[in-house]
């Protein structure tokens, strides 16, 4: 039998990291429309957003909660790399020169599958290809990856995503973390826990030099991805401010600590297997799931008029998916000049 455990320890984890203001942050609290001209100098930024074919600001902004229920602090709107014209969009903003250990976070929500570039890139000096440094981009589909833009270009393994689901991508620029001709390193973490600096990265790429001084958001050929909450900071906590949940899920198994206490389970040991098995086999515990319902819908009556004295009516019986599996009906014999039909479900 699973044993109940003491819960109190779990509630203390929430705000263990101390955060300071990030070096630069953009939550895109701008009016809907073109991004060009929004923002300005200050708070770590050198200038406003620029771009001839800019990405657009849209509402609402994106949000993110980690597997433990911690909620990333967000505000404002978000960016959409598709402006509706099918053309390539590019927006960039100059930021204070940075060439040191740095953390960068950004929310990205894939909207489509595409082999074209969609993503957030970091440049030095200008936006020429030769001065591209690194990027978070789509991995030839909807998934995401870290890319070293410095020649030779190098891609990390892809991180699986779901269209319409927001991903928190966090980069850690590590001076002297590499070796040989690429003495520095960039780690990438996807959807990390917010309350503790993450350990093992999803992927790492070696690079020679971590300098950058501008951020670019772009979508080739009108492809869409949503981008929000770009933060650049000196520590992990700086770029992942969060609100701890009042009832956390310390083992990230989908049940909160208080729910596990009510069930007599250990909130610090994942019960994901048990939870999945109960959901798949509700009859074991005398319960039911909504997917044990078979749906049938009745549609009609429909009328087909062939002449004054020749009218048919019909009723469709459809699956829940809408597929019609049967159609029943008959002629209306000698219909009166005014006649109305309706369906009545005569099953208690």
């Amino acid at each position: 039998m699973r044993t109940p455990t003491i819960l109190l320890a779990g509630f203390a984890f929430g705000a263990s990291l101390v955060s300071a203001a990030p070096l630069a942050q953009d939550s895109f609290s701008y009016p809907a429309g073109d991004l060009t001209g929004q923002g300005g100098a200050g708070d770590g930024w050198i200038a406003a957003w620029d771009g001839a074919n800019p990405v657009i600001v849209r509402t609402p902004g994106l949000s993110f909660a980690d597997a433990f229920g911690n909620i990333l602090t967000t505000t404002g709107s978000a960016l959409n790399t598709a402006d509706g014209t099918g053309t390539t969009t590019i927006s960039s903003r100059e930021v204070t020169d940075r060439d040191a250990e740095t953390w960068i976070s950004v929310l990205i929500q894939p909207q489509t599958t595409s082999s074209d570039f969609i993503g957030v890139s970091f440049y030095q000096n200008d936006l020429t290809q030769a001065n591209a440094r690194f990027a978070i981009e789509n991995a030839g589909g909807k998934d995401l990856r870290l890319t070293r833009r410095v020649v030779p270009v190098l891609n990390s393994a892809a991180f699986g995503t779901t269209v319409g689901t927001t991903v928190l991508a966090v980069l850690h620029l590590v001076p002297d973390g590499g070796s040989g001709l690429t003495p520095d390193r960039i780690d990438v973490f996807f959807n990390p826990a917010l309350d503790v600096e993450p350990g093992a990265p999803h992927a790492s790429l070696m690079i020679d030099g971590l300098q950058f001084d501008r951020v670019r958001v772009a979508g080739a050929a009108g492809n869409s991805v949503l981008v929000d909450e770009i933060r650049i900071g000196a520590t992990y906590a700086d770029v992942t401010p969060f609100t701890a949940p009042t009832d956390p899920d310390s083992d990230a198994d989908g049940l909160t600590n208080s729910q596990e206490a009510a069930l007599g389970l250990d909130p610090f040991v994942s019960d994901a297997v048990l939870i999945a098995a109960v959901k798949a086999n509700p009859k074991f515990v005398g319960l039911y799931s909504s997917n044990q319902i078979v749906d049938r819908g009745l549609r009609g009556p429909f009328l087909r008029v062939f002449g004054a004295d020749s009218i048919d009516y019909s009723v469709d019986i459809a699956k829940g998916s809408g597929t019609v599996i049967e159609s029943v009906g008959n002629p209306l014999d000698s219909p009166p000049s005014r006649n109305f039909l309706r369906l009545y479900l005569d099953t208690p």
Partner: protein
Amino acid sequence: MKKPTSILACFVLAAAAHAAELAYEPFAYDAAAALTDLEGGSGWDFAWTQDGASCVVAADAMTYTDLSGSVLNVSGLAVQTTGAATTRSFRTLAGGIPVNDVWISFLYRLPATNNKFEGVSFYRGGTALFTVSSPSVDASSNIFLGIGSSGGTSSHKGSFGTTHLVVLHLSEGTGTGGTDKVEAYIDPLLGGNPSLPDASLQGNNLDFSSVRIAGQDGATLFVDELRIGESFADVTPHASGGNPDSDGDGLSDAEEAVLGLDPQTSNAALVAAIQAHPEYFDLHDAAGILAQDGGGVILQKTGNDPLSFTFEVQQSTDLIAWPVLETFTRLITLPSDKEFLRVTLDTP
């Protein structure tokens, strides 16, 4: 009352036929016989055909016993892909009608390592949709699930010379963006629905109408007990060895194995707690399901009896009095894993 249309009789018969496995091939043929032109089993359209060399009937049958001691029902012999050239044997489902929202099971045994393709594929017309295989690019014993006839994703399960039970769940529209999804379970416990797939894939329109068993250059794979049904239970008929409840907590030992619990230690308190908090698992008691009528009616089945619902077409000339024009009654036999029928009026 007028007679319902002739569609009624067809509908009732079709619904009843879907109550158990849709197709079954036990390979109950003579050992060493070429599979081509053999037409045993049920739910198939004509006999096996070949495109390349034919698979042949193996000398022995295959068996499967799960970790809790439940034994899969088997009969006949098995089939093997051994040959002097590439073997490809096809068989089409009854009527050649593509199916979706089905479970598939078969026994799979790969005798030894090689760099050849051996696998079981599912087709619609001449198009391969998804495949369970030992792909040519992988010499390990791992069982793969791939889109089309590709290797795809490894389940990280499989041993040379061991008979594995492969169960696939094809579900319509449950993937990202409404795509279809296939989930693969290797060697699941037979006592209940599996919940954590070993591999999965998504694709558009995975309705299939035929099965192919193939071995590149005659490389050997043994396959047996090919079943297609509407529920996990349909494709995993088994003997549970008396189904004891060793700890007397109301869950059988086989059910506790599926839930990952200890069958020797009572979990009565856990079961009671789950029943008291079904919302933690997105589950409901019967009353909770019956309340989800969507403005129509919900009927709960008794045993495996079909459910009946009745609707009327009413007519009026004054929108006050609505005499019955015609009454229709339908019988619906639910799949074994479904418990409720919901009928709603979708009248525009």
